[in-house]
Amino acid sequence: MQLRPHTGLKIDGFPLGEKLHTGGFATIWDVTHPDHDLPMVMKVPTILDGYDGPTIVGFEVEQMIMPRLSGPHVPRVLGSGGFEVMPYIVVEKIDGGSFLQVFQKAPLPLSDVIEIAARMVHAVADLHRQHVIHLDLKPENFLQRKTGEMVLVDYGLSRHDLLPDLLAEEFKIPMGTFPYIAPEQYLRCRDDPRSDLFALGAMLYVLATGKMPWGTPETLRGVRKRLWRDPVPPRAIRPEIPEWLQEIILRALVVDPMRRYQTAAQMAFDLGHPQQVKLTDRAHKMKQDGWLQVFDRWRVMRKLRKFEAPKSMAAQMAAVPVIVTAVDLSPEGERLADALRNAIKRMLVTEPEARIACVNILKTARIGIDQTTDDQGNNLHVARLVALKAWAEAIDLPDHRLTCAVLEGPDPGQAIIDYATTNKVDHILMGARGHSTTRRYLGSVSAQVVAEAHCSVTVIRVQ
């Protein structure tokens, strides 16, 4: 490296402005460029004299992964430079700043916790969709856009599922941030997306309780404890935390990745459907496990060398799909509803781990006030939900894998598409109405969904 960064230095057309931040491994600088009319920052790794392996490889990993990412949850890369002159990477400046300040105010009001949790999980789900496991999720690495989206930064420890892992051979000690690191990361595993879900669980724990689930260990010994010691249940610290939220947090913090949430999409789904989260013993737990139980776990875990990692990230995400089925419950739709239910049952044979969300659309008027009750004064929404649950019962799935929701909106197709997008749905299954007058004038809902949804869509017809 020939150059050191300083205010006024110009490199590849980027004049360096003020230094914004000095971190352990890098400095952050304000930069501009005649070709790019947006606020930008330059990250320059702080390479110690001589050979500084960890920093160099971490920077190489970022240079490899970041340009391959896109979307609102990652910063846009505008330039980068190698080690010959001065290593750097220039990204757009995220206006909303770091999330650390918000964390320092924890515990937060519960409505904020839930809302923030959903945004964090969405950002991680989007990253996983792009084949990247972050592996160093912590409050400092979540930035916020003014529009509300969370942006994930710092990919120095990340793993791209389809690219060589430059870090695999490099270090023999676990990498990550101790309070949030997953047990399998402690055991040197770098290819499990569920590690990120553990870190999310730990952060939700902090947001909700104001405490770290395992304190702030400074040694690896301290990190290792989480393999057998369970955290104090959040509700024991703050009783007003609802049981369903404790269930979500503790499920994300399960030691064995196989028994944790399997995908970020699954976790997002539960955060979006609190009434339908299946409550287990975890939800009701009010104190830590007794010493005998912990001792039993310690005896097993102290010998453990690794947890089973998924074959690939894509396989992991495909194994637990969220499938939405949109049902028409009107009398004319009865045969179609039967056909749809049979199609789902067949699909469950090939997708045994799938989660099914049944939705029914209550069409509302575009203008004016809607009738929410029928002539007899019964609530329409509730009546629909009851009918939908009755229909769904015959699918014969355990509660935690079956969800029913009545969506309201003037445009049924759009309502289905929006639901699929927010819930990271993998597949939509719906019926096509026959040739009716309404369809001729209003167009086909299924055609609209097929054309506009971001996921796969299967359309069922009665012949």
Binding site: Q63, M64, R68, G82, L163, P164, L166
Partner: protein, 246 residues
């Protein structure tokens, strides 16, 4: 520039033709053959002529140890390779032998080094089978990318700023970024006699502009290539190993 890198064709016409057809669909600017056009396979004449035609059209072709032996040079070889090369020699005419004998041992352009075996002594035909064995190649050149063959199993290795050489795990069919902060070496695998358990022709697509390499596999008429070997009376093992890619 997009370069299609093919090596160790070994007289396998079916595989060579299939890969060239595949290459044509990938819009490449240049073809590079890294040697061992002949040996083992049942169609050395066709492969030799096709290679010569590619060179006439601007392709690069490097000499391998089998080409050297087929042209008449003494080369130490296994009994199996020896049997095949003796048969091959008789099949080639003087023009074909002269073509093989006249090929260069290595070639460097725009920081990419093309060579058949290890780059430190191309004529010694050392095998690059691991990161340790890739290290001498990195020491011998300043090129950013070394492309070689000779070993019929693909390998990707990088040499970082500190000079540490490591093999990188990769998946075929996906573009792998060749980070500018490191130097890289790729053993692209064999077109005509793959030995990594996959009975498909191996080759690589290098994009020097984007700084990426993609290890590719192309399926070809394996049974046809095996029956040519049998029809030629060459050792049976040369036919069966094509079927399993070992």
């Amino acid at each position: 520039m997009r370069i299609a890198v093919l090596t160790d064709i070994h007289g396998n016409r079916e595989a060579f033709a299939a890969v060239l057809a595949d290459v044509a669909g990938h819009g490449v600017d240049r073809v590079a053959l890294l040697g061992d056009i002949v040996g083992y396979g049942g169609d050395p004449e066709w492969c030799c002529d096709r290679a010569a035609r590619l060179v006439a059209e601007g392709a690069l072709c490097i000499r391998g140890n089998h080409d050297n032996a087929a042209a008449g040079a003494p080369e130490a070889m296994s009994a199996l390779a020896r049997a095949a090369i003796e048969w091959t020699k008789d099949r080639l005419d003087s023009g074909q032998r002269a073509f093989l004998a006249g090929l260069p041992l290595s070639h460097e352009e725009e920081q990419v080094l093309f060579v058949h075996a290890s780059a430190n002594d191309p004529g010694a035909w050392s095998y690059v089978t691991s990161d340790t064995r890739a290290a001498p190649s990195f020491r011998a050149t300043k090129a950013r990318l070394i492309l070689c063959g000779h070993v019929h199993v693909p390998l990707l290795a990088s040499c970082d700023v500190g000079g540490v050489v490591r093999a990188q795990v990769f998946r075929p069919g996906l573009a792998i970024p060749l980070l500018p902060s490191r130097r890289w070496l790729a053993v692209v695998g064999s077109v005509g006699q793959p030995r990594d358990g996959v009975a498909q022709a191996a080759w690589a697509l290098v994009d020097t502009g984007k700084g990426e390499i993609t290890f590719r596999r192309t399926s070809y008429d394996v049974a046809g290539a095996a029956s040519r070997i049998r029809a030629a009376g060459l050792p049976e093992m040369l036919a069966t190993r094509l079927l399993t890619g070992t």
